[in-house]
Symmetry: C2
Subunit: 189 residues, 2 copies
DNA sequence: GTCTATAAGGGGATAGAC
DNA sequence: GTCTATCCCCTTATAGAC
C-alpha cells in the first residue's frame, strides 16, 4: 500500500485483489504483473513456482491479516452480544467478505497445507465465539453448538444476501437478521 | 444420461459436471467435447456463442432441475419439520451441493439474465419454506424471517462443514445441527 | 450433424541483458 | 532486482469436407 512496500508484498496484495474479484483461474500472471507495476519476469524472481506460489502466499497473508483484526463485541447478555455481533459484521468492508468467499470457493483446489490454514482459521473463529458465548449459557456443549449455529447463520446470510445480491431484492438487513437471531435464541418463538 | 439423449443435452450435462468440479474458467471446451464424446466443432454447431453459451444453458438447466426436485418434508410441528428438513438436506447428493457452490462462485460474472434466474430460485425456495413455516407460527413477518434464518443457517452449515471439509475435523452432523436449530427455535436456550 | 484441420490469440514460463 | 524478448503450449473458434 505504501510506496515503500517491497515489490514482493505489493505483488501479494494486488494478486489478492484480483483473485478476489475474478477468481484464481481467471486471473492471469500478466494482470498481476501489470497491477503491481512490473513484468511477469519479476514475479518469477520472487515466486519461483509461479502462479500457484503466489496463490499460496496470498492465502498465508490473508490468514495472518484476519488473525489480527478479529475482535468480538462486549455485551452484558447473550442477546445483546448477538445483536452487536450482527451490527459489527454488517459494518465490515466488502473486501473482507469477498476474500472469505473467494477462499471458500477456491478451497477444493487448494493444496493440503493451505486447506489446513483455512480450516484452522474457521475453527479458531468458532472457538473465540464459543468462549464468549460460554459466558452467557450453561454447558460447554450448548455453547459449542450455539457458536456453530451463530457462525453458520451469519455466513449463510452473507452468501445469500451479499454474494448473491439478494439484498437488492429482499428487504432484510444484517442488523435485523442479527436481531431476529438474538430474539429466537433468547426465547424461541 | 440415456444413450438416446441428444448430443445437445449430453453436452449440457457433461459441461455441468465439469463446471461443478473444476469451475467455469478452468474447464476447457476440449474437455467438454471429450466428455460428451464429440469434437469442439460439434459444440459450436449447437452453441453458436461458444463456452459462454454453454454456461448459460447449464444455468438454465440447473434451475429447471432444481424446480422439479424441490420437496419439503411433512411434519406435525415446527420442531419436527426442522429436524426432518435437516435430515433431508443431509441426504442430498454432494452433486447438488457442489452445483450451488459453483453457481455462487460464478455469480458475480454471470450476465444479468442468469443472475436473475439464480436469485429467483433462491427466493422461491425461501417462499416455499416460508409458506410451510407459516403453518406453525403466528404472523407473516415471523414466518418470513424464520424462513430466512433457517435457510441461511443450513446454507452456512453446508459451506463450512461440507465445502470447507470441517466435518472431517469437528464432530457435528447436519442431523444434530438441524436438531439443535429446532430446539433453539422452539424454546430458546 | 459431425468431423478434420488449422488459424489466431493468449497463457505460463524462462534466458539473458542491464 | 528488474526488464526485454521470446518460447511453447493450449485455448477458443472457424472453414470446409463428408
Amino acid at each position: 500500500m505504501a510506496d515503500s512496500a517491497s515489490l514482493q508484498e505489493l505483488i501479494i496484495e494486488k494478486a489478492g485483489e484480483l483473485f478476489r474479484e475474478q477468481g484464481y483461474t481467471a486471473t492471469t500472471i500478466k494482470q498481476i504483473a501489470k497491477a503491481a507495476g512490473c513484468t511477469t519476469a519479476a514475479l518469477y524472481y520472487y515466486f519461483e513456482d509461479g502462479k500457484q506460489h503466489i496463490l499460496r502466499e496470498v492465502i498465508h497473508d490473508t490468514a495472518r491479516e484476519a488473525e489480527f483484526s478479529r475482535t468480538l463485541p462486549q455485551a452484558d447478555s447473550l442477546e445483546e452480544f448477538l445483536v452487536e455481533l450482527g451490527a459489527n459484521l454488517a459494518r465490515r468492508p466488502p473486501k473482507v467478505v469477498d476474500r472469505f468467499n473467494w477462499i471458500m470457493l477456491q478451497f477444493a483446489t487448494l493444496p493440503d497445507e493451505e486447506k489446513q490454514i483455512v480450516q484452522n482459521q474457521v475453527i479458531s473463529i468458532q472457538h473465540a465465539l464459543r468462549e464468549r458465548i460460554s459466558q452467557y449459557v450453561a454447558g460447554k456443549e450448548m455453547a459449542d453448538r450455539l457458536a456453530w449455529l451463530v457462525y453458520c447463520s451469519f455466513v449463510g446470510y452473507q452468501q445469500m444476501f451479499t454474494k448473491l445480491e439478494v439484498a437488492g431484492v429482499v428487504d432484510l438487513s444484517m442488523d435485523e437478521y442479527g436481531g431476529f437471531l438474538a430474539q429466537v435464541v433468547r426465547q424461541g418463538l
